[in-house]
């Protein structure tokens, strides 16, 4: 009695095993898939009273890309293959030779870049049929974004000597102002297809 008893130390050799099991469980269930995709901004909903008030855009400023239910592509009246779309879009957005059929240029003062003639009134309009497959639509969107990305890369290499993605924020904003992304999502129509 009155004798101090020694508390036996807890055997902790199995904690490693226990935590290993937990670790393996989380390793298996974890899905580190960072979701990626094409980010788009939808236009705000139309106001009731301006339902039909369409904004007047000059014909030369619009690149109409139409996709029918069979997946065929039409770009401003010509049937084209999807591989040509990127170059068509680039030529349209850039309008290097100031062609009167391509979007109009006007001088704009952009910080860091100075006064530039930009085609910021252009619109690329994508129209699809209700029966068009989503995959074709997505590839069209992908090609259009690629056109913008390539143009932005070209410009940033020329002006800043680096790729667009490597630029600091304010330079990226300047480049974006030079080549604003304008892809309009028109309501679908029936181009000889389903329904």
């Amino acid at each position: 009695m009155g004798k101090k008893r020694k508390v036996p130390g807890i055997n902790a050799s199995s904690t490693a095993d226990i935590s290993f099991i937990l670790l393996i469980f989380f390793l298996v269930t974890t899905s580190m898939d960072t979701d990626s995709g094409l980010t788009r901004r939808l236009p705000p909903p139309p106001e009731d009273n301006q339902e039909d008030a369409e904004i007047d855009i000059k014909d030369r400023n619009v690149l109409k890309v139409k996709v029918n239910a069979a997946g065929n592509l039409m770009c401003n009246g010509d049937f084209i293959d999807i591989t040509e779309l990127c170059d068509r879009a680039k030529a349209f957005i850039k309008n290097e030779a100031n062609d009167p059929n391509l979007p109009e240029k006007h001088v704009k003062n952009i910080p860091l870049l100075g006064n530039c003639a930009v085609t910021d009134k252009h619109v690329i309009s994508v129209q699809t049929d209700r029966g068009t497959s989503y995959n074709v639509y997505f590839q069209v969107q992908n090609e259009l974004v690629r056109a913008y990305n390539e143009l932005r890369d070209e410009l940033s290499k020329e002006k800043f000597g680096r790729l667009y993605s490597a630029l600091p924020d304010e330079q990226q904003i300047a480049i974006r102002e030079y080549y604003p992304q304008k892809i309009s999502e028109a309501e679908p129509k029936n181009y000889g297809g389903t329904e």
Partner: protein
């Protein structure tokens, strides 16, 4: 001095493993934090299209998902094989997207950053996609993301 004991029957010192649990625990915590267990059971099948110009989705807490595709195989008997929309844990009609978005918004701290990720099967027809987009416009969920896989 200068004498080395040779062949003195030296034993390998035992490796001290007392820090091993701590080590494993820190890895464990890492995985616990990064893990995101799918909270919804997928009822539709989809294989997203592949693209080259993808951006990563940031701010996971502000993302709502809409799945579109044919019902999963075990639900085909009850639901048929037509394209369906899944919101959370159930099938829904395009018009229900509006309520879904409003409900999702109430859970969000940063409502302006709300992004709707559309996980749509490649073979879906654009009609249903457009219907969803029109409803999204009406519910002011304007930032959308067409989910896709990376392709080189």
């Amino acid at each position: 001095m200068g004498r080395f004991s040779k062949g003195g029957g030296r034993e390998m010192p035992e490796l001290n493993t007392s820090s091993l649990p701590d080590l494993i625990f820190s890895i464990l915590f890492f995985f616990m934090i990064v893990t995101s267990m799918r909270e919804v059971e997928l009822k539709v099948q989809f294989s997203v299209p592949s693209g080259t110009e993808l951006e990563k989705l940031e701010k996971k807490s502000a993302v709502s998902f809409i799945y579109v595709g044919p019902p999963a195989l075990h639900l085909r008997a009850a639901m048929g094989s037509g394209t369906r929309i899944q919101l959370n844990d159930r099938f829904a009609e395009p018009a229900e997207v509006m309520d879904f978005i409003a409900e999702e918004r109430t859970h969000m701290t940063d409502q302006a950053a709300q992004v709707v990720s559309l996980k749509i099967d490649q073979r879906t027809q654009m009609g249903i996609v457009t219907d969803i987009k029109q409803v999204l416009r009406k519910s002011w969920a304007l930032r959308i993301n067409y989910s896709a896989a990376k392709r080189n």
